[in-house]
Every structure is written in C-alpha cells, then in structure tokens.
C-alpha cells in the first residue's frame, strides 16, 4: 500500500530525529548532573528576633550555608557573594566545618580541615589548603552577619574553584526571608547600648532574672500566649459551670445509682492530678483514634477537671441553704424545680461566688500545665524564649502576666466575701479575709464560704416570694440589692 511504503520511508527519518533528541537530551542532562563539583544543600539564617521566629534585617544573625562536594571531585575554594547592603558586626567571625559522609548514618567532623578566609560585607572567600574531598559536606557559618534592614528575600551567590583550578558559578542559593526591624527590637537594641543597662546586667542575678532587654522583648512576645491562656480558661470555665451544677444535682439525687456514678466522677477527677489527666487525654485518646485539635482538647480537659470541683462547691452551697427555705417555698405551692431555680440557686450563687472565683483563678493558673504537651499557651512561649536566650527573665514577665489576671480576682473575692458577710449580718472581716486565701483545692473549701447553719434570710426571701409574678428573680431581696 502506498500509505505503508510512505510510512516505511519515513521510519529512518523518525529514528534519526529520535536519536538526535536522545543525544541532545543526554547532552543537556549530563552537564546538569555532573558539571558541578559542588551543590548547595541549604542556606538559612538563625532567627534573631528575641523571643520570636523571624530573621530581622539590620540586626546580627548567624548565616549558614551548606553544600556537598560531588563524587570524584574536589573543591579548593568557595566564594559566597552577599546581597547588597549587608553589614558585619564588629565581632563577626566565620566557622567552617567539613563533614566526612563516608558512613551516611554517622557523619563526623574532619579535624584536618585547613582554610583561610577573607570576610567582607560583600563576600566571603574560603581557600582550602588541602581541598574539600569528594562526597564531603561543608557547613559555612558567618556569625554577626547583618542582612539589609528592609524586609525582603535575600539570596546568596555561590561560586567555587574545583580541583583542576576551573571556576564555576552556582548562581543564587535559595533566598532567606528577612523582615524589617520591629519597634520592640529597636527598643531592645537601644537599651543594650545604655550604660545603666550594661551596669545592671553585669550583676549576674539581675542579668539572668530581671534583664531589661528581655523584659522589653518578652512583653509583646508573651502577650499572645497570655491571650491564648485566657482564651482557654474563658472557654473551659463557663462550660464547667452547667456541667458542675448538673453533677451536683446528681450528687444530691434520691436515686442511689445517680449518686454513685456522680460521686465516682467527682472523686476520680478530684483524686488525680490535672497534669495526669492532661497526659492521658493527650497520649491516650489519640490511640483510640480520637484526635481533637490541641486547643479544643485543652479547654475540654480543663472544663472536665473544673466541673468536678464546681460540683462539690455547688453541692455544699445548696446544702448550706436552710431547710426552712425549702419548706417556705413548698408552702407557697412551688414545686421542686421552681424551688431550686427561684429560691435556692439565687441564694447559693451569692454564697459560692468567692469559692468559684478562686476556682477560676486556679484553673487559669493550671492552663500552664498544658505547656507540657506542647500546647502553645503563655508558659510555652516563655519557655521557648528562655531556651533561645539562656535567660530566665521571660519567666518573670510571664509571672507578671498571670498576676495581671489573678490579683484583681483575688481582690474581687474579698469584696464578694465582705458583701456576703454584710448581707448575712455577720460583720467579721477578719474571717472573710482568712477565707480569701483559700487557694487550695481542698474538700472543705466549698463548705467554708457556705456555712451550714443559716438563720437570717428566711423572711427576707419570703417577702418577695409573695409577689412571684411581679418580680422575675424572687431570690434577690431589696435588701440584697442594696448590698450589691
């Protein structure tokens, strides 16, 4: 057939073209693969943001370039071309490591490396007396290197001379992202030049615990951690209140089974450390295939823990209300639920408010336990800062942030207690002061602020009860309004 002969005639031509492509391909592929005796593995800069992660331009950092010498090749010289406008700190220096990769599982230093260096703000040239050997890795680090103070991506140009004396240009290495200097960092830099700061920091204790540079750096850095800690407790605590109230009802239930179940819940949770509960939640639940996000699991565990304590606080509070109140309510024809919600609970809330507030304080402080499982809350931010700096000041700043929340609340507790005492007609400020320090989760804390015997208040409560329809919250009497 005509068609077939044409195809046959074309076949050599196709083959020729294919061969051409193959040769061309090889020609293109081979040099790309073999031409360079040196390849760049990575270029990075160490974060120099105090307490942060970014690389800040205009401030000294540690530049790091890593490369590998090709097989059967040697390298006698490496030049790193820095981007324009880079600078060097006064104490800038270069560190070069040659790493023998013969056993990839156990790379070791080559102690025999001999090199000369020429470091300028524009470039670094390293001459290796014995040459870098084949397959070896080289790590070049420039300490005290300052990137331009304008945010942007900065690439390092790399060129080298191989064993035969031929120069090669590797082009730009992957860029390093730098950000412009932050206001905080500017203040820190300014402070570090002040004489009084230097004098202050020359005292070891002041330097390690109350370093002004780290106070300034930690305040904005820990702020976000602080918000997260507050967020955790603000989600956890409100969830714990209804759960705790429900459990306290179960605890007082007439049904033995309900009492039994709820007392197991309360006793197991109160009888084990929160730290342990966090560990179980973090390392145990995922093995069952339950993997909630960190923050969700965080506030759920906090809520669960707190609900058991709140249940006991509520139970003690409710049981401290005098029997007469129940009797009075039922004599007015109220049923059990009405009695509970309109008569008992409103009175209970007032009594348990101080204890609840101290439970809130405890829970807020306990958010720090979540740091152990890697949740990014304030303690974790502080810990990372401390590790970067080797300075303890971020912990002190964190303490300040915790106090910012807890001190006003501690104050609030004593106000609540004074009001409670006043409305109860018991003017004993010294008593209430003692209770204000009830910072420990002991069994009696609920009962302490909610005394078992109560006499006053029966008539006070009954008075508005006679006008249930008129007043939405009959539990609060006019007198109590005055005192609030």
């Amino acid at each position: 057939m005509k068609h077939s002969t044409a195809a046959r005639a074309l076949r050599p031509a196709v083959a020729l073209v294919a061969v051409c492509f193959l040769v061309l391909g090889l020609f293109l592929a081979l040099p790309a693969h073999d031409a360079f005796a040196l390849t760049t593995d990575r270029t990075t800069a160490k974060s120099n943001e105090d307490g942060g992660k970014s690389v800040i331009g205009g401030d000294p950092t540690r530049l790091s370039w890593e490369g590998t010498v090709g097989a059967d090749e040697t390298v006698s010289s490496i030049t790193l071309e820095f981007p324009a406008d880079c600078r060097l700190a006064d104490d800038a220096y270069v560190k070069v490591q040659e790493i023998i990769m013969d056993d990839p599982a156990r790379p070791v230093h080559d102690e025999s490396i001999v090199y000369t260096e020429e470091l300028t703000p524009e470039s670094l040239t390293l001459e290796f007396a014995n040459g870098l050997r084949a397959n070896n890795k080289v790590i070049v680090q420039v300490y005290g290197f300052i990137l331009p103070a304008v945010s942007g991506d900065y690439a390092i140009g790399v060129s080298y001379v191989d064993g035969t004396g031929a120069s090669h240009d590797l082009g730009d290495s992957p860029a390093i992202s730098a950000v412009a200097i932050t206001t905080t960092q500017r203040i820190v830099n300014w402070l570090s030049e002040q004489e009084w700061v230097q004098a202050w920091n020359s005292v070891k204790f002041l330097n390690i615990f109350l370093n002004p540079l780290w106070i300034v750096a930690s305040i904005p850095n820990l702020f976000f951690g602080w918000l997260r800690s507050i967020g955790l407790v603000l989600l956890g605590f409100p969830l714990a209140i209804p759960v705790g109230l429900g459990i306290s009802f179960l605890r007082m239930s007439k049904l033995r089974v309900l009492r039994f179940i709820s007392s197991i819940y309360v006793n197991v949770i109160r009888g084990t450390p929160l730290f342990l509960q966090i560990y179980i939640a973090w390392f145990g639940l995922p093995l069952l295939g339950i993997k909630p996000p960190d923050y969700a699991l965080g506030f759920l565990v906090l809520a669960m823990n707190s609900s058991a304590y709140l249940a006991e606080i509520f139970r003690a509070g409710i049981q401290s209300i005098h029997k007469g109140q129940f009797e009075a309510a039922s004599s007015l024809g109220m049923n059990g639920a009405q009695t509970m919600f309109f008569v008992i609970i409103p009175q209970t809330i007032r009594r348990v408010l101080p204890t609840m507030t101290s439970e809130f304080i405890l829970l807020f402080k306990d958010t720090s336990l979540l740091a152990a499982v890697g949740v990014f809350e304030m303690m974790n931010f502080a810990k990372i800062s401390v590790n970067v700096s080797g300075n303890m000041t971020p912990y002190v700043v964190a303490a300040g942030y915790y106090l910012l929340v807890t001190l006003p609340l501690i104050r609030a507790i004593s106000v609540f207690e004074r009001k409670l005492a006043a409305s109860d007609g018991r003017e004993t400020p010294s008593d209430s002061k003692k209770k204000g320090k009830g910072d420990d989760k002991d069994e009696g804390s609920g009962e302490n602020t909610a005394p078992q015997t109560k006499r006053v208040g029966l008539f006070k409560t009954i008075a508005p009860l006679s006008a249930v329809d008129a007043q939405p919250s009959p539990g609060i009497t006019p007198e109590q309004h005055d005192s609030q």
Partner: protein, 277 residues
C-alpha cells in the same frame, strides 16, 4: 477511741517522715568518706561541696544517661565515674533536671558543678558556659512513625513537628524547615509519646539516641534521615571554674590515651569505633 485515732496519727506521721527521708535520700547519693590524699589536687577546684562533683542531668538519653530505678546508668555515667575517680572526687547526681534549665543552672552557679546530658557544644551555648573537650560525635535524626510516607526532613514544610525544648534538634527544625510549627517537649520521651499519639508528624533529636530508642523501645518508628550536623558532646562547666574544666579535660585525655575511654565506648557501642581521639 481517742487513743486509737492518736495511734493512727502517729503511724501516719511516721510514714510521712519515712517517705520524706526516702525522697531526700534519693537526691543526695552516698556521701564520700574518703577524700584524703585527693584534696591536694582538688583544692583549687571551686566545687559546691568539698571532694564532691555535683552533676546535673536530664537522665533521659539512653544509652548515654538514663535512670534505672533511681540510679543513673549509661555511657556518660560510666565515663564521668572514671573521670571523678581519677580526680579523687565522689560523684553526686541531682535528681533529673529539666534539660532546658541545665545551661542556665551551670551559668548561674550554686546548683551543680557540671552538667551532662548529651549536651552539644555550640557557640550559642558557649556564650553562657564553658565546655570540656568533646567526648562523642553525634548528628541529628528525623524520626517518624514507621507507617508514614515521609522520606526526608524537608517533607515537613508547614507541618507540625516536635523536639525537646532547649535542644539543638529544636533549633535545627526551627531554622531549617520553613513554615513548620515546632512543638517543644520537656523530655524526648514525651516527644516520642506525642509522635506515637499523632500530635506531631516527626520528632527531631540526636541520632545515636534515636538509633538506640528505635531499636529497643519504639519499633513502630523509623529514622528517615540522619542530618549531618556533626555535633559533639561535652560536659558543661561554669565560666568561673576554669580549674575544673582543665582537670576534666586532662583526665579525659588521659582516659582516651590509655584506652579506658575506648573500653567504656565498646561496652555501649560494640559495633562502632570511637571517633574521638
């Protein structure tokens, strides 16, 4: 009835007392009784306690140093024991210290004379403390679950990974994996538990420890990359105590020269040749 409850209280008090004594006992070690003769050479060492080398460690790095019951064991423990004996000192270990507080504790002084915990010698740490001469060559490892499909450290861009707080592994991950969230853990074993639980995708820590841990305790994990950082371990000492640094260095050199070092090394790493000479 009254005397009964009193008895109960007395028994409980005795228990509490015994317990607290046991707790104190485990942190103080055995006091030295024989420091005679060595005092000449150790007099100029500024030690916290005369004739005693107080050591702080994280004790979570098998086969280097870990706890067996309450007693530390391992390569570093044995090495230090020989060094201390050579210096005529008694070793006393503090209870396990949090790794990220070791450098600061040595720098601040008053707590420990020397820190040992597979501590990598690097310039950042050298700003705070001095290091004795290196005694081990190490690298970083990237460890994942055996069931994962990751093949190299750079696969974790933008992912959540973990490392022990304050370690060179943490710093490496932070600097070299763009966009990754690096979760800090108090101990490497907690990081391993988190990896098992799936809270992190990979854990970065020292390769020799990873090798040991994966072989003995974590068969469900794999090391996907040895990152050639060529780190070296050294004992950390205070900058205010150059005499101790020199004494330990001299002793370490002697042990390397006379083969004692190699002997201890072979005990823990039978398949390796000591690379420190």
């Amino acid at each position: 009835m009254m005397s009964m409850s009193k008895k109960v209280i007395a028994v409980m008090a005795a228990l509490v007392l015994a317990l607290s004594m046991a707790l104190v006992g485990c942190s103080s070690g055995t006091p030295s009784t024989d420091t005679g003769g060595a005092t000449d050479t150790t007099a100029d060492l500024k030690l916290l306690k005369e004739g005693v080398l107080t050591v702080g460690s994280d004790c979570d790095y098998p086969p280097f140093i870990s706890l067996e019951g309450e007693k530390p064991v391992g390569f570093e423990y044995d090495l230090l024991e020989v060094i201390a004996a050579d210096l005529g000192l008694t070793l006393e270990y503090l209870p396990p210290q949090s790794f990220d507080t070791l450098i600061t504790a040595v720098q601040g002084g008053g707590k420990m004379d020397l820190a040992v915990s597979s501590l990598t010698i690097n310039d950042e740490r050298k700003e705070s403390v001095n290091f004795c001469t290196p005694y081990f060559d190490s690298n970083q490892a990237c460890v994942t679950l055996a069931s994962s499909n990751y093949t190299k450290a750079s696969d974790f861009e933008g992912k959540t990974v973990g490392a022990q707080s304050g370690t060179t592994g943490f710093d490496w991950a932070q600097e070299n994996i763009p966009g990754a969230t690096v979760k800090p853990y108090n101990q490497t074993s907690e990081g391993l538990a988190a990896l098992q639980a799936g809270s992190i995708e990979a854990l970065f820590f020292d390769a020799p420890i990873a090798e040991y841990q994966l072989q003995t305790n974590y068969p469900d994990m794999k090391m996907i990359e040895v990152i050639p950082t060529a780190e070296q371990y050294g004992f950390a000492v205070s900058k205010d105590n150059p005499a101790l640094e020199k004494a330990v260095n001299d002793s370490l050199k002697k042990l390397i020269d006379d083969g004692t070092y190699a002997e201890i090394f072979k005990q823990y790493f039978p398949n390796l040749e000591p690379s420190i000479k």
